[in-house]
Amino acid sequence: MLQVKQLTCVRADRPVFQGLSFDLKASRLMQVVGVNGSGKTSLLRILAGLLKPAEGSVSWRGMPIEQQTSDYSLARVYMGHANALKGDLSAMENLHWACLLAGRDPTQPVIAEALNHWGLNRRHHLPLRVLSQGQQRRAALARLSLLLDAKLWLLDEPFAALDTEAQEALEHLIARFLDEGGSVILTTHQAFGLSPRITDRVDLDRLRASC
């Protein structure tokens, strides 16, 4: 599904990693590891299509992602460090907008269910800024519950700032997504319960550009 060939990433005129190639098939879970500054976030941003690689190509179903029309943007979901939510909007409004933007249109009850699932009962209509950091993160992750019909999740440090309960919920969600034929690429430093399901691993330290 996702093919990466000879990818080289350069940030601020400094090569970060080079010669990265892999082929990610359906229902696979890939973990990207590497020390801080090894280019994990840059890699995910390249795969999402936000950054252009210095060299190499990323193809989705045989076609380079920069030539894709809306197919790839409907199929992949990118979640960065930041929650990408508006503090002045409620969790409900935030999620509805995020889904509309991603090309889906869930009804209010569906969104409410996703929020309840993430333990945000009775907080659907509060402005997000009054919630705690952890709760805001949960609201951001609730987006994934509504995007199970996507094909590829790119998750940058999804387990950061989560308590054990939320971490388990996220692990279940990822497992379900994998069972339904989706693929996941994630970066994390933490140990997590899905380790037995990791099928591919990319170690960016070994691809570190010598300079």
């Binding site: 999402a48 809306s70 992949r76 990118y78 960065g80 929650n83 508006k86 933007l101």
Partner: protein, 222 residues
């Protein structure tokens, strides 16, 4: 696509409403600038009528300038702009929705207040109508040009200053034509050519602006 467009206009207007003091600031600034001139200059009706259109237009322009830096900066800061770049909907459609809601929230109030402020300068009813009309036709291009500059300076320090420098020369044609339209009415001539030029300028920026903004945002993320 239309659905996302409408939803974004609604979202931005909701956000603006929840931060309404920011917008009120800009409107208040407009009112203050335009009201202080008659006080400072004195009550010579001929002189006031002469400078009136210019003062009101400059006030509107600066007030628009005040609200511009936030147009993309806040979405950039909390990374909701990133989601828009990645969305299946073309970015130019999304930025047009953002600019439209900026215009509705920040510039449309100016159009309605301007005639009231114009009265302080002794402008006749006809001139006041043309003043409002010229602002209604001219301000969309102010929003769009400002948005291009805002997108070009995304993520830069001191972006506000840079936006002002980039934008003011481009605002000049709009300012000149807007003032000429009102002055023509005051001196008994037809304002039509100037109003048509303003409309043409706005239409041209509507046609080119969204594409330029989308390209500028794309550059900011590379």
């Amino acid at each position: 696509m239309l659905k996302v467009f409408k939803a974004l206009v609604k979202r931005d207007m909701t956000l603006a409403w929840r931060r309404r003091t920011d917008l009120l600031n800009a409107v208040l600034f407009f009112v203050m600038v335009s009201s202080l001139f008659p006080l400072a200059i004195g009550a010579d009706p001929k002189l006031l009528r002469l400078i009136g259109p210019g003062v009101v237009w400059v006030g509107a322009l600066l007030s628009c300038q005040l609200t511009l830096p936030r147009l993309f900066a806040s979405d950039h800061a909390d990374q909701t702009l990133e989601a828009m770049v990645l969305a299946p909907t073309p970015l130019s459609v999304l930025v047009l929705a953002k600019v439209l809601s900026h215009w509705l929230c920040a510039n449309m109030p100016l159009v309605f207040i301007a005639p009231v402020l114009g009265m302080q300068f002794g402008l006749g009813p006809e001139a006041l109508g043309v003043l409002a009309l010229s602002l209604a036709l001219g301000t969309p291009s102010l929003s769009l040009i400002g948005a291009i500059a805002g997108a070009l300076t995304l993520g830069l320090r001191g972006a506000g200053m840079l936006v002002a420098l980039l934008v003011l020369p481009l605002y000049c044609p709009v300012l000149i034509m807007g003032c000429l339209a009102v002055e023509a009415t005051v001196s008994g001539l037809s304002p039509e050519p100037y109003l048509l030029l303003l409309a043409a300028f706005s239409l041209a920026t509507v046609a080119i602006g969204p594409w330029a903004i989308a390209t500028a945002i794309g550059i900011a993320y590379e």
